[in-house]
């Protein structure tokens, strides 16, 4: 049995209240609103976005604990990335031969920008994890197809997710093989990571060949085929109903942010 993924709940779990297409569209818009904010200016805007995301997760019936866990797992990486700006500035100063004496040499705006970037990326991540938990990857792909995304793109996304699951599975198997022949511990794990990565890359290469053969054997000819799109009228109906619920909140959020 392969390892199941937190980001890929089985499709027979809870069903969201709304159909996937409007939920996905809303998530995309909200993510754009969060990421597109100009400046941290009002911290309360982030509070509002946080509440919106929480409300969205509840309405979409996304399980909260896996969302929180995933955010906690990824937040150190986001923090590190956000600190890139002030840290690179410090590095510039150091290279220029100036000794940074506290915060005076580094404008406070750098740190504010870093904080803004961190909170924005955290909000966007929370939203994306929520929607993935609520709809599952397949649900999101169906929604994207419904919204008119080219089939070639959704087919690639679908195969990427399947590939991710296979690579994760192989990574876990090689971990087990390593642990079974070592005393265990982080030191041995770190020493073998490079080799494992190379091995998985090589195996992936072979596997991609075989998968391509399997696709060809079932008539694949570089033209992706998929389920027909949802009816435009149904989509419009969904959107109209959803707009009544969300547009005032989104408008308020954008107004506060600006």
């Amino acid at each position: 049995m392969s390892a199941s993924s937190e980001l890929s709940p089985s499709a027979d779990t809870r069903q969201p209240l709304l159909s996937p297409t409007p939920v996905t569209l809303l998530a995309v818009l909200l993510t754009l609103a969060i990421v597109g904010m100009e400046q941290l200016g009002e911290l309360r805007a982030f509070g509002l976005y946080g509440l919106l995301i929480l409300a969205a997760a509840l309405i979409w019936r996304a399980p909260l604990w896996p969302i929180i866990r995933r955010i906690l797992q990824l937040s150190p990486a986001l923090l590190l990335l956000s600190l890139g700006l002030p840290l690179s500035r410090l590095l510039d100063l150091w290279i220029a031969g100036l000794s940074p004496d506290g915060t005076s040499l580094l404008a406070a705006s750098y740190w504010v920008d870093a904080l803004s970037l961190f909170i924005r990326s955290l909000c966007a991540l929370a939203l994306l994890v929520s929607i993935t938990q609520a709809l599952g990857w397949q649900g999101i792909l169906n929604a994207l197809r419904g919204l008119g995304m080219p089939l070639a793109v959704t087919a690639v996304l679908e195969h990427m997710e399947r590939y991710r699951a296979l690579v994760t599975d192989e990574w876990q198997r090689t971990n087990l093989a390593r642990d079974s022949r070592s005393p265990g511990g982080m030191r041995f794990a770190l020493a073998s990571y490079a080799g494992q990565t190379g091995l998985i890359f090589a195996r992936s290469w072979d596997r991609s060949e075989r998968i391509h053969q399997a696709m060809l054997s079932r008539g694949y000819s570089l033209v992706p085929h998929s389920v027909p799109r949802r009816s435009a009228w149904r989509l419009l109906g969904n959107m109209a109903g959803l707009a009544q619920l969300w547009l005032p909140a989104v408008a308020l959020a954008i107004r506060v942010a600006l």
Partner: protein, 262 residues
């Protein structure tokens, strides 16, 4: 397993002529790596043939020729009298269902339904027909209710059944199976043997699990060092222990084990 295999087929020019013929087939992956050396094999329509051989004998490579994944470098492969070539690949691939050794190679979509529908959609069937094909293939493999399950969350045996369903949904006339019994539990092996026995078309089955292969096939062909060295009824070939030993597919040591148990 229920085995309600559909019998009609869209590739009308191949219906009823699903014999498999391989004449003088040679194939090499590189100049110094010849895998098939003048293979000759004829399988009559509706017959089930176990293709036995040790590792590296060329079994998988030969099966890849059945479906036109590899095209002959020398020699000729014909399915129902039609030579496998780039011109008729579409017909050939509808007629010959190829099941790969590792289900993870075969299943590249997220859900079972999408994977089973992949073949019929590629051949341009209307969505209603695709759904019908998916339903009957899942029924044949006792997978009803698995439609929205994620492939990565299935057990190995379930993934093997889904692999077969992905091929059955194309209503093949010839089934080419690469190591179908590998890594399956005994119950699943019996189930799969029954499925193969009940399949109405021609079967070419490459395997190192000799006993199950013998249990569901009528003929044995032995591939050794890139050549078919023996082909005949199961009883005739299976009793020739010297031949089996020479080709690395002897299974009679199991009789010794059974004797010991007695």
């Amino acid at each position: 397993m229920t085995n309600s295999f559909p019998t009609d087929h869209p590739a009308s020019d191949i219906i009823g002529q699903t014999s498999v013929s391989v004449n003088g087939l040679s194939f090499a992956y590189s100049e110094d790596r010849a895998v098939l050396r003048g293979v000759n094999l004829h399988v009559q329509a509706g017959r089930k043939v176990a293709l036995l051989g040790s590792s590296g004998a060329g079994k998988s490579t030969l099966l890849l020729h059945m479906n036109g994944i590899h095209l002959p470098q020398q020699g000729r492969v014909t399915i129902g009298g039609h030579g496998v070539s780039t011109e008729n690949l579409s017909h050939i691939r509808q007629a010959v269902g190829l099941v790969f050794q590792d289900p993870d190679d075969q299943l590249f979509h997220l859900t079972v339904e999408e994977d089973v529908a992949f073949g019929p959609r590629n051949f341009g069937l209307a969505e209603v027909a695709v759904r019908e094909r998916v339903r009957e293939a899942l029924e044949a493999m006792q997978l009803v209710g698995f439609e929205q399950r994620l492939n990565q969350q299935l057990s190995f045996g379930e993934r093997r059944r889904v692999s077969l369903a992905t091929v059955f949904s194309m209503r093949p006339k010839v089934l080419a199976l690469d190591e179908p019994f590998a890594n399956l539990d005994p119950h699943m092996v019996r189930s799969l043997m029954e499925t193969i026995r009940c399949f109405p078309g021609t079967v070419l089955l490459a395997s190192q699990d000799i006993l199950p292969a013998l249990g569901c096939c009528q003929e044995i062909a032995i591939l050794h060092q890139g050549q078919i060295v023996a082909h005949g009824p199961v009883k005739e070939i299976a009793m020739d222990r010297e031949l089996l030993q020479r080709c690395g597919v002897d299974f009679w040591y199991l009789a010794d084990v059974l004797d010991k148990l007695r």
